[in-house]
Symmetry: C2
Subunit: 221 residues, 2 copies
């Protein structure tokens, strides 16, 4: 990755979360490309989002970027990662997958691997710096210009890679926080089912999560 700001690909960039992240990152002046299995859908979505956002197939944008955000449903996670695996060696892949298993999306159902982030690492192999984040953000709120009252827990075994993703969360107007090793992603992935339950039980339009206390940001590594 060059010293300048990394180019960011959003694989699954036509979905709710992917499009919202692409738009916020584009608005923050980041170079963003959105990908889709269907190149034409990516083109149409990029045109709608504005901010000079580029587009391509998932593999094309992954190949062209330094940091690749993957925002697809759990059922598509494995196939999507296999599709881009050849294009991401040595790069940072940000997996946002939450292992929701419809119809019981209000029930925590972590996969046998422990969490979706560990599946991503397994599929991509050790040569890829997998980070996971953005599990608890309400996509429809992120799609607006409003402040989203939610912290972003960022997990990964490589601290420098986490720092890059924390900067992306911050660029989106969120607060990114180190959450520890990749296996810890289970906490944020599981929390999403609790959020959906709380939205329904307490009639909330997109609950969020904040860590409380006087946090002193650590020095960059």
């Amino acid at each position: 990755m060059s010293e300048s700001l990394p180019t960011i690909a959003v694989v699954g960039g036509t979905g709710n979360l992917g499009a919202a992240l692409a738009r916020r990152l584009g608005a923050a002046g980041r170079k963003v490309l959105i990908g889709s299995r269907d190149r034409e859908r990516a083109k149409a979505a990029a045109a709608l989002l504005g901010h000079d956002i580029g587009y391509g197939s998932n593999a094309e944008v992954a190949a062209a970027a330094d940091v690749i955000i993957v925002a697809v449903p759990f059922a598509s996670q494995r196939a999507t990662l296999q599709d881009i695996a050849a294009c991401v060696a040595g790069k940072i892949v940000v997996d946002t997958t939450v292992p929701l298993m419809p119809p019981k999306v209000m029930r925590v159902q972590l996969p046998p691997e422990g969490c979706a982030a560990l599946i991503a690492q397994q599929v991509l192999g050790v040569g890829v710096r997998v980070v996971s984040a953005f599990h608890n953000v309400a996509a429809h709120k992120l799609a607006t210009d409003e402040t989203v009252d939610c912290d972003v827990l960022v997990f990964g075994d490589d601290r420098k890679a986490r720092e890059v993703v924390i900067a992306l969360a911050d660029a989106c107007g969120l607060r990114g926080l180190h959450g520890g090793v990749l296996a810890n992603s289970a906490a944020a992935e599981a929390l999403t089912s609790i959020m959906i339950f709380i939205n329904k039980t307490y009639a909330v339009d997109g609950a969020g999560m904040r860590i409380t206390g006087s946090l002193v940001p650590p020095a960059a590594s």
Copy 2:
């Protein structure tokens, strides 16, 4: 359980979390008994806590109470629950166990059963209403008279039992929230390792967790 306020036992009541909960509940006018494997230790702890808190062995206080809070380390959970199992049929047992496995307490390590709360249900059997809660509260903060800036996610398959425990959290000056089925406890249990990591990484004296959004409390069931 009678219509009046339930009597509460805190099994493992001489530990940090148990003692802090007992003190806050006692201060709120609840009838509280603290238990320990060692009856004499329970007696000494009760005297220190004040508020007319009673004491006994774990099994004695479990037998005498309507609601039993279990606050022991993960390594002692199973044996403690077996010790009180005969005394809690038909009652509400509030498991607070976090499956921390020293020395790697900053790494999420959920048990094969899914979470500690499901282990509790397994040990106690279906005749006991198991609820889990209080996983994310910093015990040393709860031990003071200060406001603790943390929500309490309450899990259980029986909604009325969750409501009883939410009322206990509220009595402790915390905000209790329905978190859904017992299996969802995995989210809050896992989050504790994240909190410990954040305390260390961001030099926080006891981070907490808040759910954001305009929550409308549901009507009591």
